[in-house]
Structures are given as C-alpha cells and as structure tokens.
Symmetry: C2
Amino acid sequence: MAELNTESTTPTVGVALLGMGTVGREVLRILGEAEQDFTARIDGRLEVRGVAVSDLSKPREGVDPALLTDDALGLVKRDDIDLVIEVIGGIDYPRTIVMAALNAGKSVVTANKALVAAHAMELADAADASGADLFFEAAVAAAIPVVGPLRRSLAGDKVNAVMGILNGTTNFILDAMDKRGASYDVMLAEATELGYAEADPSADVDGYDAASKAAILASLAFHSPVGFDDVHCEGIRNITADDIAAAKAAGCTIKLLGICERLVDEESGDESISARVYPALVPLSHPLATVSESFNAIFVIAEHAGRLMFYGNGAGGAPTASAVLGDVVAAARNVVHGGRAPGMSTYANLPIADFGAVRTRYHVDMTVQDRPGVLAEVASTFAAHGVSIKTVRQEENVDGARLVVITHHATEQALEETVDALMQLEAVKNVRSVIRMEGN
Amino acid sequence: MAELNTESTTPTVGVALLGMGTVGREVLRILGEAEQDFTARIDGRLEVRGVAVSDLSKPREGVDPALLTDDALGLVKRDDIDLVIEVIGGIDYPRTIVMAALNAGKSVVTANKALVAAHAMELADAADASGADLFFEAAVAAAIPVVGPLRRSLAGDKVNAVMGILNGTTNFILDAMDKRGASYDVMLAEATELGYAEADPSADVDGYDAASKAAILASLAFHSPVGFDDVHCEGIRNITADDIAAAKAAGCTIKLLGICERLVDEESGDESISARVYPALVPLSHPLATVSESFNAIFVIAEHAGRLMFYGNGAGGAPTASAVLGDVVAAARNVVHGGRAPGMSTYANLPIADFGAVRTRYHVDMTVQDRPGVLAEVASTFAAHGVSIKTVRQEENVDGARLVVITHHATEQALEETVDALMQLEAVKNVRSVIRMEGN
C-alpha cells in the first residue's frame, strides 16, 4: 500500500481526487496550504497523483495540468493510488468508479449523499471484501460531525431518534418566510439569486436531499439497512405564508425535518424504523426552532446520553472539504499504520415501518360554515376515527369561519381517514392544510 | 490479546472495571442489558472479569461478588484482562493503576478529567510504548461527543477557538441566578440540595473541573501539550445578583466559560495558546447564552468548518457511561481486529501565552462621585492605557453614581493597569466588579 518516500522515512499515500467543483477545489487548496499539518497528523505524506474531471478543455486553476485526466476509472485503478476522494455528485457514474476503487482495495472518502443513500450496502460489501475503508462524514450536514458521533461516540448507547434540519436551502426559505412574512415563491427566487438554491431546486425543495441524509442517519442510528426509497418524503412547495402565520399563532415555526425514529409495537414489543422528511410545526422552545438561515442542526435522543444536538454549516465548499479531509486523515492513517474503520453495521436489521403506522401530532387548518353546531360535527368526526383533539382555534373569515385543530398523537392512517371524512361533511368547505407537529 | 471463546468463534475481550460509583454502576448495568448489541458491534464478546472497589465490605448490587477485589493493581495486570475501564476519580491513585495497565499493554478507557488534564503526556507515552489505546471521551462533557470530533472529524481542519460551558453545576447556579434574580449563596445551597453540587463545591465553583476539561480540549484542538496548570482559572464565587442584573442591562447573561484560543502575534505571526476559565458576559444572541440548567455546550470555530456547536448532558451516571461505552466499543474492536486509535497529537507544540497578552472585552462596574467631570477623568484613564471604550452607562445610586464601562478588545495587562489607575482616582469610590465579555 503506502510506499516509502526515498528522501526520508515518511511514507507517502497516493491520492486520486475525482471532481473539481466547489468542494474539489477547496480540498486541493487546503491540502496545499496545510501540507505539513497533514503529514504530522497522518505520520505520512499525502500526494495528489491524479485529478479526474469531465471536461479536460476547461481551465483549472490551482492544479498541475499533468495531473488532470478524464479517465476516472483508469485513475482509481492505478497502482500508485491508495486513497480516492469522490466529490463528483450524481449516482450511476460515481457508483461505477467508487465500486472499482473499493474492489481494487483503495479506500474511498465520499461527500456524495445520493450515492451512499442509494447504494450503501453494495459499497460497504465491496469495502469489506477488499479490506478498504469507506468514509462519508461529508455526505450528511457537511462539517457538522454526525456520522462519526453516531458510528463511534454513540456505539455503546441505544439511539431512539434522530431529528434534524438537514437542508440549508429550505431552512433559508422557511426562516425568511417566518421572519419576513414573505411567500414561498418570493423566497425561493431570492435563495436562487443568492446561490443557495440550484436553477432546478427540486432536490432541495422536494426534500430529496434531506431524504438521502435521513436514510444515512437512520442506517447508522439503528444499525440497519435504510435506503433512499425507504424514506417517506414531502417537500415545502405547498407551505404558504398563511401556514407560517398559523404556526406562529400556535407558538411554533415551520421547519423541513428529517426524522429517524425507532418505533416499538406496544403489544409485541417488535421494533421497526420510520425515516421521513416533511415540513412540520416545531415549538419555538425547541432547540431546532432557533436554527436560522442556511444552518443545519441534528438532534439525537439516545437512551443513556439523553438529548444531544449538533449544529453548524451544513453545506458549502469549505465546510464540506473540512469533513472530507477529516475522513482523509483517518483513511490515510489506516493506509500508513494498518487497521480499518468500522464498516456499515446492519446487524439489527430492523424492518421499515409502514408510514400509516407512524404516530405524530397534526395541525389541521379548515374553512368551515359559520353556523352553530359545526364544531360539534367536526369534533365528532375526529373522535370517530380515534384522533384526540388537543386545541381548537376558531376565527371569522371572509368565506366562512377558519377552524384550526391541533391533535394529540395519532397514526398517519387515522389522520388520513379523519381528513377524508371531514371533506365529506357539508359543514367543512375545505381542508386548507394538514401539517405535522414535531418536537414535543 | 483476545482469546477464542471455546463455545463459538466469537472472540472474548476481558474487561476490568475500576470503581463502582454512579458511573461504574451504570456501565455494568448497560453492559448487562445490551450484551448482544455490544457483541454485534465489536464482533467480539465483552466479559467483565474483575471489578475493583476500595471497600470490599460494602454491599454491591448487580455484580457477582466473586468479581470484586480491592487489588486494582493486581487486577489490571492479570493475563485475562485486555481492557480497563477507570471510573474511580482522583489523580494519584488512578494514575498508578492506569500507568500499570498501559505499561502492560492493556487499553484504557477513562472518564477521569483530572487525571488526563494532569498527566496526559505520561499516559499517552506509555500507551504509545506498549501499543495500547487510551480513550477519554467521557472526561469532557460526558456524552457530548467532543473529544472524538476534535481528534477525528476536525483532523483535516485548523481549529482556532473552542469555547464552552463545561460545568453543569455552575451553569445551573448562574442560570437560576439569571432567571430568578437569586443570590449565589441561595442557588449554591439549592444546587447542593438537588445533588448538582458536592458538599465541598470547590471543584465546580472555583472552576477547577472546567479547567481540567479546557486543558484537554486545548491539547486536542491545537495538537499541543496543555495541562491543568497551563489554564488560567477563576470561579464564580464573586458573581453577585447585581452583576447578573448589570449583564442583563447590557443584553447579556453571565456564563462560566472554558476558552481555548489560538493567539497569533500580529508582528511575528508566531502562534501561541490561551486556555482560560472565567465567568463572562455572553450576548443573549450567542448560542451559548441559551444553554440552561445543568446542560453543557461546546462551541468550536474552525477555519474551514466555520462555527460548530455541540450540546447535551455534560454530567450524570448514564450520560457518562454512554461516553465510556462508546470508547469501550472502539477499544474492544481494536483488541479484536488489531489497529490502534490515533494517540495524543502534540506535533504543533505551541507555547502557552502569557495571560497578560490575552485580548478580550471588559465590563467594568464602578461607583463614582456624583459630580461633573468624573466621566472625563475616567475616560482619560482608560485612554491613557490604550483601552478603548465602547459604551458607558451611568445611573444614580445611593452612595454616588454607578458607572458601567464596556470596553473594546484590550489585553489583560492593559486592563489590569487601567483598573489600578482607576482605583487611584479620587473620583472613583470603588471598582465593584470587572467581568470579561466573550462571544462577539
């Protein structure tokens, strides 16, 4: 693996960098600036021996042109490469390259949440078979250490829930809607202009980015295989300024949450996993409610550790590069000293719960007829489906009365059936929105 | 090292537990309850083969009496012990035992902040010499992962500052003083009654406990040896209800902070380390200001990761046991699979800065004569020592006028000289308090 540098006894670790986007450029810059620190921390010298890019004709500042190649597959198989940094993005293409690297026994550090969420087990098996390491701290919330803490620090505990603000773009939008009373469309436009949102904002606003991260967090937290397709996912496109105002009236704000929860069947004691992403009301007193702008935060509830929170920059070139390079140091130390990081631990192998079985609270916002007896009809519809009401708020409105019901915990199935029945009532003109309520 | 269990191919790791206090009992309880999880996560079985206590005559629930011994030194040297958990407390006695264990090649997991802060390098050298692991996540802020993140996750970054609420007892007292306007003595009595404070509260209220943790954090953050004696330490005994009220008037609260900072000489560019513990005003908008009751939080500023915060239970039997057992899994995996955790990294070997060179802001609260010209005299005294004033607040008082000055950044030395000069002024009746201001 690591060869001896002829000029000294310091071993050298050959590195291939795949991708020269924002993160790749930062990785190269920091490696150059802090070379001596890396050597001291690794007890070995990192040498970038190849940089794979898709377009060789594009000018690339800060990199020796002789290192550039468009043959990523050939690069990772080279004998002088010990460690591969994958910061390309996408799924199918990097999957081929990363699998080739792992199969060839090269350790891989990736920031690619979509790849890990889609193919974690395949990658982990390949790493196990060849004895290579697979690291992906940067795939969740960039520089906020959460993969490491779940994998290592909490390895002696039992995690019962992980709940987080996992996407900076949507938090920026929701936070600004809350603070300025602006509409979703106005804030999305501003987020795009500021570079927080992509031209096609779907990955962010439809919750897919957060869902990939939730899948990864759930796998780690519950020692079970959880993939992107196992995550129930709803985005924030339908959240209106009116919803945010209603949340405020209830002492809450609205956040897009990734939630990973251990469910326990009350009768059998059988455990299962719920992983879900949706916008939810969060009480202003909850630590997640104070997370502003594009920051991320992850709240962990463990049996013995209690409630923990991790907070910081969840995106951006430098923070992502920081997480990548922390993993690079660990992977390179293993190349130099031997040893291997713990692989994916999926021994618990808990099943994914049916979404209908998930229990949470609901904020149901309706327009109803403005006449006596309506509240009684609505209340008995909730009761008929076993959904218990916590608070009711009624206000007059131009087209009737507005009725906001906050429920106690109920299953998704019971709530859905309740809403179907409400819509059949003549008294209910329409159900304006149903938003979950978390964090109590 | 690990021997094969004759009944299966699962290797067994022999464990010695030193200490059966609150943490030791929790460790044993959790090991018993979650035995199968530990086996799966380690790929090996943990077997507690001896428990050392100081008093064999005391009844010990939940432990096989045959395992009890009062010969800790003999226990850790036994051939069937691979891994030692030290949760005794104190310094000299556990030092002897832990050194013997490390010298004999047994990996050690300790929760003992005083021991690590006093003798980290000696212990690390012994571990390096024998190839054993030394883990101490539980020594700082119990279950909040911070040793791991600094050692591993941020290994590719440059940490510039670590600032934290590292002691739950003093945070409970200061938080209650702030919320209820109560005096220090009243809240200390309540903290003692609730079991937050010891009968002799000195380790907490004089800042020694936080200073041990600050020493450990500074070593990790700056890759340099920093011991307990290198930490400037002031406690909270002198903080009055009046100080807290003045802090509120300035939009702040008072927290006991542990601060580890990389100082850079403006002319030479030479770097040094400041590690200090003192009560300080923190703006209400700062994340640390919201940390209530006995919670702990650690704020890290790194060059690339930016601002990170870690929050949770910083003390207690179960949270401390959680951190201990996370380390036990890592240490046991290394016993089973080979490999070694990174040792103490002190290559940067930065010197400790003179406390007089530390720069911060100050909240100076004085009683002055109530006559024209006093403010001018006071202001020129600050100016004469190069200390620039940011705000002045003056109010009438029974025994003259109260004058509160908040400064811009100045060195400790300049501030001390200013205060000495102020006390010489006839206009200044007394300097009621000087409290630093952090977090801007």
